[in-house]
């Protein structure tokens, strides 16, 4: 299968590991990812204000580009996924907003673009994935979702915003022991890194405590789905190793 791929700014720079691992995992699973030709910044956050339609223009431009290439759009960055999805949703729900946004766009978005998270593609290929894994390590896995993929309710990827299970299901099917901890969708602190470092430290500390509580004596690694979470969890704790879920999968497939 061929999909259009929207990497977003972070995956091209500080999140390069994530990008590389996605591409390689896609390759072994026979998923063709073609990068969207003209992609723009998604604008990083979704800010819906009644009088400022420009705040979702970036996201909408990307969807228009996708429409031009007439395809489905795959992203992996949690923020991009969240922003694209919510922008598209309000574009189709709010007639007034649509009119205002259309005034800035060269063409209108005719129908909803299917926005897919890379994880959904993996879910479909779990059996193939299982057969590809060379070596399993003995670590238990704590799947940390963060906020962007689980909320808002109704349009997010993981519908259960408090105790989602889809990552867990995937990895337990691949034969891993799962740590079911309480704070898997709690905020990592996000950009407060710049403005209020202690708040982020506190958030990360709480998350780690929750994992510790659930893990007991098990050796444990944390899997993340989002470059922000990855950064904050890596930077503000050193008890557990933190990997992108694709990065982790790739290491299993490579067997190193």
């Amino acid at each position: 299968m061929r999909y259009l791929y929207y990497p977003g700014c972070t995956l091209k720079t500080t999140g390069k590991v994530f990008d590389d691992s996605i591409k390689e995992v896609a390759k072994v699973l026979d998923i063709e990812l073609k990068e969207l030709t003209n992609w723009y910044c998604c604008q990083a956050i979704y800010t819906p204000l009644n009088d400022a339609p420009s705040l979702i223009l970036g996201a909408m431009r990307n969807l228009i580009e996708t429409q031009r290439e007439d395809d489905k759009l795959v992203t992996a960055c949690a923020a991009c996924y969240n922003v694209l999805l919510r922008a598209q949703n309000s574009y189709f729900q709010d007639q007034l907003l649509k009119e205002r946004v259309d005034a800035y766009l060269e063409e209108e978005l005719r129908e909803r673009i299917k926005i897919i998270h890379f994880f959904e593609l993996l879910e479909e290929k779990v059996e193939l994935l299982n057969s590809l894994i060379k070596k399993r390590n003995s670590f238990s896995l704590a799947c940390y979702y963060g906020c962007l993929l689980t909320r808002p309710k109704g349009i997010a990827l993981f519908s259960n915003d408090i105790n989602p299970q889809r990552l867990e299901n995937l990895f337990s099917k691949l034969g891993f022991n799962i740590i079911d901890f309480g704070f898997k969708t709690r905020c990592c602190g996000s950009y407060l890194t710049y403005t209020k470092e202690e708040a982020v430290k506190d958030c990360v500390e709480k998350i780690v405590l929750s994992i510790e509580e659930a893990a007991g004596n098990n050796n444990c690694q944390i899997l993340t789905t989002c470059p922000l979470c990855q950064f904050n969890l890596e930077n503000y704790q050193n008890k557990y190793q933190v990997f992108y879920f694709t990065q982790f999968l790739l290491s299993l497939i490579k067997g190193d």
């Binding site: 309710k153 259960n160 408090i162 105790n163 309480g182 704070f183 405590l209 929750s210 509580e213």
Partner: protein, 645 residues
């Protein structure tokens, strides 16, 4: 045909109508219409002087049609029909224009409202000129009632009807009557022992000769109308002959299958052949065939040969004159609020589960223990599943505030050293003696903190409840050994199915809808079907009992009348127009249309016709006429609405 003389009466309804609609202008406009002899406005048309005004005019002006423009005909049509009947007119010569609910209350612009009122009154006048006299028929009422649901409301209703000398079928889907009240320990605010006040009533049910108790039964199908309902009831296979069973219990002792006991909210096991609780009425055992492994041990062990493992469901048909629905409520499932960890942590219980823990005949015999240990601190949480739009229950469940206060009191009474903290949003102690009880509980040292907890998680072997104390404005993490969720009341899923069978309406919260929220709180939208207890909305025991008594007296009043009048709004066939094509025959949901093979025309069976009007709108030759809703009467209204102003 005599000259048509119409009197038009426009009601001010205080300021309700007159505040928006220019009543005088409506009267002036209507006076210009043909056939209108007199048109007046009055401040309250439904009051005695208002009605007298109509009666006087009928005499004085020799009126033969009356139009009242006021509130909805669903409200006061019977009143005004009576009025003109007293003045000697046929009640069906009345027409109402709804200028309150459908005009003055829903229109902002006064000019528009007045125009709409004129138009609505105009079509009422036009229709009135075509109205015909109709004569009501009387149908005898079967003096037997069906009560659905054997909780406290159903029991009370059944007893009241039976004590008035009428036969009652009391249908309960569980093996025993008693309902949720049988599960409770004490009742608030008087702290009566729930079982002690309920069980005598349950026994009374079995002793009353007028009550036919049908447990382990479900209503399958309902047809008919007020006074003459036909009901099919499914007697579920019980596996035990209740007449032979002596409740010795030897079957249950030997049964090898353990399953969670629903009566104990799954906190204790029961066998596949069981009695939900020792005071069960009827006091007989029941096999739950979904759990039974058909080993036959019980059959072999029963000395009275009461057990039949090949028992099958039976359908029983009964005829009744009235139905009381008392199907009760279900507890909210806190799994829908996963942040509270219910189902994940064993130490998180629902209100009803904790009630069983407190109960002397419950799984712990009344000792407050969790995981075998006595808790040192207990947290109660208000409004779980109530006042919450996230789970679609915006309403208040009305009992949680007080049952939490009661449970907190019982904890303090039995474990004085236990720290009891209650997280509330608002405490609603509105009933008789409630506020005094709430004050007493606070005085006993129960800590009330204002704030709705956001999550519960584990730290070591303690649960941590995270909340904001909105009064102090600080975040608190309260440690607890046991958390009790003040789970709200939600409508039963089975009731929704029953509502479909009975054609009952639901209110927005999915509880059953009463005919009028203030004035007809026990009537449903269907004549002859009455509501009581929590199926109509959350309520406490006294309210349920009061409503049950209300429903019972409505039934008794109906039975005392012996007859009901049936609206003569029915179809009839004009034989010379009918070609006998049978098109109508298949359309009628009541099979009221029969073919007269001699005259080769269709005929309406008046005992069956309910007057929906599906047949006249399908008749190709216009042979079928719907009384009171004839083609001409409707078409003249359509034309009237489209008059150029």
């Amino acid at each position: 045909m005599a000259e048509i003389r119409i009197g038009v009466y426009v009601c001010h309804c205080g300021m309700n109508i007159a505040g928006v609609v220019d009543v005088k202008r409506v009267v002036d406009e209507i006076k210009k219409m043909k056939n209108v002899v007199v048109a007046r406005d009055y401040v309250y048309m439904c009051s005695d002087p208002g009605q007298d005004l109509i009666k006087k005019d009928i005499k004085e002006y020799n009126l033969n049609r009356v139009v009242v423009a006021s509130c909805s005909p669903r409200m006061h049509e019977p009143t005004f029909r009576n009025t003109i009947k007293e003045a000697g007119l046929n009640p069906y010569l009345l027409e109402m224009a709804n200028i309150r609910e459908q005009d003055s209350w829903v229109t902002e612009d006064k000019e528009e409202a007045t125009k709409k009122a004129i138009s609505l009154v105009r079509i009422a006048v036009l229709r009135a000129s075509l109205l015909e006299e109709l004569y009501e028929k009387e149908v005898t009422v079967i003096p037997r009632a069906l009560v659905i649901g054997g909780g406290i409301a159903g029991i009370q209703a059944a007893l009241d009807i039976a004590n008035a000398g009428y036969e009652v079928y009391l249908v309960e889907k569980e093996p025993s009557i008693g309902g949720h009240m049988a599960q409770l320990e004490k009742t608030f605010p008087t702290l009566d022992c729930s079982a002690c006040i309920l069980t005598p009533k349950m026994v009374e049910v079995t002793q009353n000769k007028n009550i036919k108790l049908m447990t382990y039964c479900e209503v399958e199908e309902v047809s008919g109308f007020v006074g003459n309902f036909k009901v099919k009831i499914r007697q579920k296979a019980r596996g035990v002959n209740p007449d032979l069973c002596t409740a010795c219990g030897s079957c249950s002792i030997i049964c090898p299958v353990y399953v969670p006991n629903e009566f104990d909210c799954g906190l204790a096991p029961r066998k596949a052949i069981y009695r939900p609780f020792p005071q069960a009425v009827p006091n007989v055992f029941t096999i739950s065939f979904k759990d039974c492994v058909q080993c036959g041990l019980c059959e072999w062990n029963c000395e009275n040969f009461a057990i039949n493992l090949n028992d099958k469901d039976k359908i029983i048909e009964i005829d009744v004159g009235a139905i009381v629905v008392a199907t009760g409520y279900e507890e909210f499932d806190p799994r829908l609020k996963p942040e509270f960890g219910y189902g994940r942590y064993k130490e998180v219980l629902t209100g009803l589960e904790f009630e069983r823990i407190l109960n002397a005949s419950g799984p712990t015999f009344g000792e407050i223990k969790i995981n075998g240990k006595v808790p040192k601190s207990i947290v109660f949480i208000h409004c779980v599943g109530s006042r919450d739009e996230q789970v679609g229950n915006p309403y208040c469940s009305r009992v949680c505030c007080m049952y939490i206060a009661k449970q907190a009191h019982l904890v303090k009474e039995r474990l004085p050293d236990c720290k009891v903290t209650v997280f509330y949003i608002d405490v609603r102690a509105f009933g008789k003696g409630f506020e005094e009880f709430y004050t007493r509980v606070k005085d006993e040292g129960v800590i009330y903190r204002r704030g709705s907890p956001s999550e519960i998680y584990k730290r070591g072997d303690k649960l941590v409840v995270r909340s904001e104390d909105t009064i102090l404005g600080e975040i608190i993490e309260e440690e607890a050994d046991l958390v009790v969720l003040g789970t709200g009341l939600v409508p039963r899923k089975e009731t929704l199915e029953l509502a479909k069978k009975l054609k009952l309406s639901l209110s927005a919260d999915n509880f059953l809808l009463e005919a009028h929220p203030k004035l007809r709180p026990v009537d449903s939208n269907i004549d002859g079907v009455y509501l009581c207890g929590c199926c109509q909305g959350p309520k406490d025991i006294p309210d349920s009992v009061a409503q049950a008594k209300g429903a019972a007296s409505s039934v008794i009043a109906l039975f005392n009348k012996r007859v009901v009048t049936v609206e003569p709004i029915q179809a009839y066939v004009r034989e010379d127009y009918c070609s006998g094509c049978h098109i109508c025959e298949g359309l009628c949901p009541y099979s009221a249309l029969e073919f007269d093979s001699e005259k080769r025309v269709m005929r309406v069976n008046e005992a069956l016709c309910r007057g929906c009007g599906v047949c006249p709108s399908a008749c190709p030759s216009g042979a079928i006429v719907m009384r009171h809703y004839t083609d001409e009467q409707i078409e003249i209204q359509v034309g009237g609405l489209l008059w150029e102003e």
